[in-house]
């Protein structure tokens, strides 16, 4: 498991990193390395240059950026630097309270070692269809801050994931931060289904719901993981849930549509039919959990 030889650079600023990317023919960005290093060691890629973002302090941290800015809704937002490792997110009270769904999802990523090295930005930029955080970013309607040679741009999560392992981040760009509108008063439920602990999800469903009067669902947002080449929103379920009193029967009925419009893979962990079924069960459980524990 020895990668091919490559040059290694460790810039200390985003500008320097972007310059390196602009100059190189075939460069790869290194964040926590939990996805990139296996790929390099297995020689599924052999870049000339690896640009390690580990020393760019500005890319790391959790910031309350208040109500303004580009964030939809205007209800306040939290910005997480792309290089923030999972474990910092997990340890943050703010995130547990305001972005409970993200907290739940991050808690289930890999194992403690992976959570100490792996980063939220790396996970989203990698866009593994089985990654835990993509669907959550969709459900929480996050926005991605991308820096490139011509400055910064902000891309909504819905436009960020383009295809298998393909995002809006270009070869000469960096994902620098992720902005999440806070969801005060929203309940969250995350259901990750695995065959063994510390595995990528066979299917996962993240749900956050808002209960209007404490009784009926006024709004629900459901993200699906590993139900297609990109993370997906279960729009049909979201619509069906609006106005529903969250009993198991009613939620179950609404969640029967969880797999509508998806194209899940068939692999050693399960065939597509099984995944479609699983999505309905997990969606019901996630929504009930979310509705049962409103913040």
């Amino acid at each position: 498991m020895i990668p091919t030889a490559f040059d290694y650079a460790r810039p200390t600023s985003v500008d320097e990193a972007l310059r390196l990317l602009a100059q190189a023919d075939d460069a790869k960005v290194l964040a926590g390395g939990q996805s990139l290093l296996p790929v390099l060691r297995m020689r599924l890629n052999a870049p000339d240059l690896v640009v390690d973002l580990g020393r760019i302090d500005s890319l790391r941290g959790i910031r309350d950026i208040g109500g303004g800015g580009a964030v939809a809704g205007g209800g306040g937002a939290i910005e997480i630097g792309a290089m923030t490792p999972y474990h910092e997110i997990l340890a943050s009270d703010e995130i547990r309270q305001e972005l409970t769904l993200l907290h739940h999802a991050v808690a289930e990523v890999g194992d403690p070692q992976i959570r100490h090295r792996g980063t939220l930005g790396g996970s989203l930029a990698h866009a593994d269809p089985a990654g835990d955080c993509g669907a959550v970013a969709l459900a929480l309607e996050a926005e991605m801050v991308i820096a490139g040679p011509s400055g910064e741009r902000v891309v909504p999560a819905a436009d960020f994931f383009q295809d298998l392992f393909t995002t809006a981040v270009g070869d000469d760009e960096l994902l620098v931060a992720i902005r999440f509108p806070v969801h005060p008063g929203w309940g969250a439920g995350y259901q990750k289904f695995v065959r063994t602990a510390q595995q990528w999800p066979v299917v996962a469903v993240g749900a956050c719901v808002h209960l209007a009067d404490g009784k009926t669902i006024s709004e629900a947002r459901i993200g699906l993981t590993n139900m297609g080449p990109t993370p997906l929103r279960a729009r049909a379920v979201e619509e069906a849930l609006a106005g529903v009193t969250p009993t198991p029967e009613a939620v179950g009925a609404a969640c029967a549509a969880a797999a509508d419009g998806t194209s899940p893979p068939s692999d050693l962990n399960g065939d597509a039919d099984y995944r479609r079924h699983l999505a309905t069960v997990l969606a019901r459980r996630a929504v009930l959990a979310a509705a049962g524990h409103p913040q």
Binding site: T4, D26, K28, S35, L36, P38, V39, M42, R43, L44, N45, A46, P47, H126, A127, D128, P129, A130, D163, L164, F165, T166, W200, P229, P265, D267, L268
Partner: protein
């Protein structure tokens, strides 16, 4: 791994057939593909597969095993087979694509149409196929999807 893609082209079978017969033009649709030489029904070339974290370069050769166009233009069929290996010896790829052409329902404007069905039997072997949650299989499915999407656009 067998994958089937279907689309309809606003041209008659013979015209569509001729379009498929042009290897270099067809290859343009495959992301990262390049034809380096054509010799009758045989060709050589390479494909650089670059998707997210993965970057593999396959080189190899291919040929049209079968090309038949019914005289009356009622059907066309070609069988194309190609095989190659990764530049770094980490994998092999073999594909057999059967392109079946049939007259489609006439278009709204009365012009001819052809229903195209591309059935690809793709075989990825070696190290790249046996590591990492079927990653390479998924990647190749995606690439093939992009290829046929592009073909469809190009021909329509």
């Amino acid at each position: 791994m067998e994958l089937t893609h279907r689309f309809t082209v606003p041209a008659d079978v013979a015209t569509t057939f001729a379009a498929f017969d042009d290897v270099e033009s067809v290859a343009e649709c495959f992301p990262g593909a390049e034809v380096t030489s054509v010799d009758g029904d045989a060709f050589t070339g390479g494909v650089k597969i670059k998707l997210g974290p993965i970057s593999l370069t396959f080189r190899g050769e291919g040929e049209f095993r079968e090309k038949s166009l019914a005289k009356d233009g009622s059907s066309g069929r070609m069988v194309l087979s190609a095989r190659g290996k990764d530049r770094r010896g980490n994998g092999t790829a073999g594909a057999e694509a059967v392109v079946a052409l049939r007259p489609g329902a006439a278009r709204a404007d009365g012009g001819p149409a052809t229903d195209v069905e591309v059935t690809t039997d793709l075989q990825i072997g070696g190290k790249v196929a046996s590591i990492g949650r079927g990653l390479v299989q998924e990647v190749s499915t995606t690439m093939l999807g992009r290829f046929t999407d592009c073909l469809e656009k190009k021909l329509t």
